[in-house]
Structure formats: structure tokens, C-alpha cells
Subunit: 154 residues, 2 copies
């Protein structure tokens, strides 16, 4: 797998994912399993709700964004996990048929003080729909392997 | 559905969910769909990784926590959506066979200034495993319908 290391990344670098379309079936299935609220999974109740129809669970939007980023991110094989996530905002409803893509920006990077094999990368993810409206954004911290550290064992 | 309204909730109220066991099959399936990193879905690569075996995607843990809370939360039928989530930390790996439960605390509440039918509730969720170790925690903001507002249309 082609992959960048911590040492290859620069603050300000940005990556744009491919898009994916959320279908009603996917939205209902995710909600039924993980977020069973009427406006996420019951078309008739949702039509009578403040949203006027089914909207995707915010966790579904987040999970899809994660997949889009994982699929394309250049440091795929050198990622070592994520300690946390901050400032997540659901800004606009995501509806069946909407197509989402993610723009990732590297905000800052620093080598780990305690573990020389990795660096700590602060990322900002912005998720847009097909009208280029921002529907969700969040900050996430990722651990990325260093080229001059031990080779990650995976 | 039995349900509390915004006006029934008090800062300091706390709720404990039932538990659920995450199986290897569920962990691999979620990761394959939403977070395809080797240490979440490839048992052999994961055994050679820093984690020593498969660990659940943090988004899977979050989604399961959401389901546990939705399942039991007393204001189920009066929830109106969530504008955001803050300070999420993944503190310990979740492994196949681990059983998770969630403790929810109401940190603060205020009526919406612009919409008289709802209030804004700040919640803190702490997710524990079967050893009562904190594996993840986060803050979430939820909109909850007021008893003296319009009846939510769902």
C-alpha cells in the first residue's frame, strides 16, 4: 500500500475524498441498529416531525465520513489509532439521496514526546453535500508512524 | 412510550444503561464497512500490531453507546436531535468479548432562547467495560421537547 509517514506530512496539507450517496435503505438500517429515533428510521413519523422526512443519524454521517477518509488517506498503512475527537457539529440534515464528500486539513503536527516511533497529527474534517453545503465538521487527533521509528507491525 | 420532558430533567440526574457484548463478528463487520484499518478487522495483522489483537473501531464503540442510551433513555419520545459532541476520548481498547455499558449524567440544562418548544441539555456519557474501566467518554448536546411547548410531531 502506498503510504505517507508522519515525516511526510505538513501543516496546511489538505485532501479531498471521493463522494458517496446515502440511500434511504442505508440510513434506516444504520438507525435501526445504532440510533433508533423515529426521524432516522420511520418515514411516516419523520414526515410529521420538524425535519419533514427521514434524516441520517449524525453517527451514520460520521461513520461514512470516516470510511471516505480511510479509503483515500495517504497515510493509510502508517496510522496507529486516534485518541480523541473534538468540536463535532451537525450543521445541516443529511437526507436520502444526498452525496457526501470530506475535505481533510492538517492543522498541526508534533512528534510524540514519549514514543519515538510516532507523531501526533491534528486534523480538521469538513463534510459537504452535493450543493457544497457544510453538513458536519470535527477535529480529530491521529497517531501516525514515523519513517525513522520502528516499522509499524501491521 | 413512557417519556420525560425537558421540564422533568434536573442537573445531576444520572442514568445507567444495560450492557451489551461486542463480538469479533460485529467488530470486523463494522470496521469493514466504516473504518477499514487492519487492527480493527484483520485478526492476523492485528495480532502483529501494537494492540496484540483486534480492537473495535472507536466509532463502533460510540455507535453502540448511542444505541444503549437510546434504548433506555427516559426522554426517548421527546428528543429532537443533537447539534454537537465534544471532548470525546478513546481511553482503552475495546476487544472482542468485552461488555459495555454507559453512564449518562445531565451536566446542565437551559430553555432554548429562540424556540420555546424545546430545551438544550448538556450530557456527559461515560462508557465502561466489564471491569468497570472507563473506555470512552464524551459530552453531547441534545434538544429535548418542553412539556408546555408544542407537542413534538413524532
Amino acid at each position: 500500500m502506498m503510504s505517507l509517514w508522519f515525516d511526510d506530512l505538513r501543516a496546511g496539507d489538505s485532501f479531498t475524498s471521493r463522494g458517496t450517496t446515502l440511500t434511504e435503505g442505508q440510513i434506516v438500517q444504520f438507525a435501526f441498529q445504532f440510533d433508533p429515533q423515529p426521524f432516522h428510521m420511520d418515514a411516516h413519523a419523520a414526515a410529521r416531525s420538524q425535519y419533514g422526512g427521514i434524516i441520517a443519524s449524525g453517527l451514520h454521517t460520521l461513520s461514512v465520513a470516516c470510511r471516505l477518509v480511510q479509503q483515500d488517506k495517504p497515510w493509510g498503512a502508517t496510522a496507529m489509532g486516534a485518541p480523541g475527537m473534538d468540536d463535532l457539529r451537525w450543521l445541516k440534515p443529511v437526507r436520502p439521496g444526498d452525496t457526501l464528500h470530506v475535505v481533510t486539513q492538517i492543522k498541526s503536527l508534533r512528534p510524540s514526546a514519549s514514543k519515538p516511533d510516532r507523531g501526533i497529527v491534528q486534523l480538521y474534517h469538513a463534510v459537504y453535500n452535493q450543493h457544497d453545503e457544510l453538513v458536519m465538521d470535527y477535529a480529530i487527533t491521529e497517531l501516525v508512524a514515523r519513517r525513522d521509528g520502528d516499522t509499524p507491525k501491521q
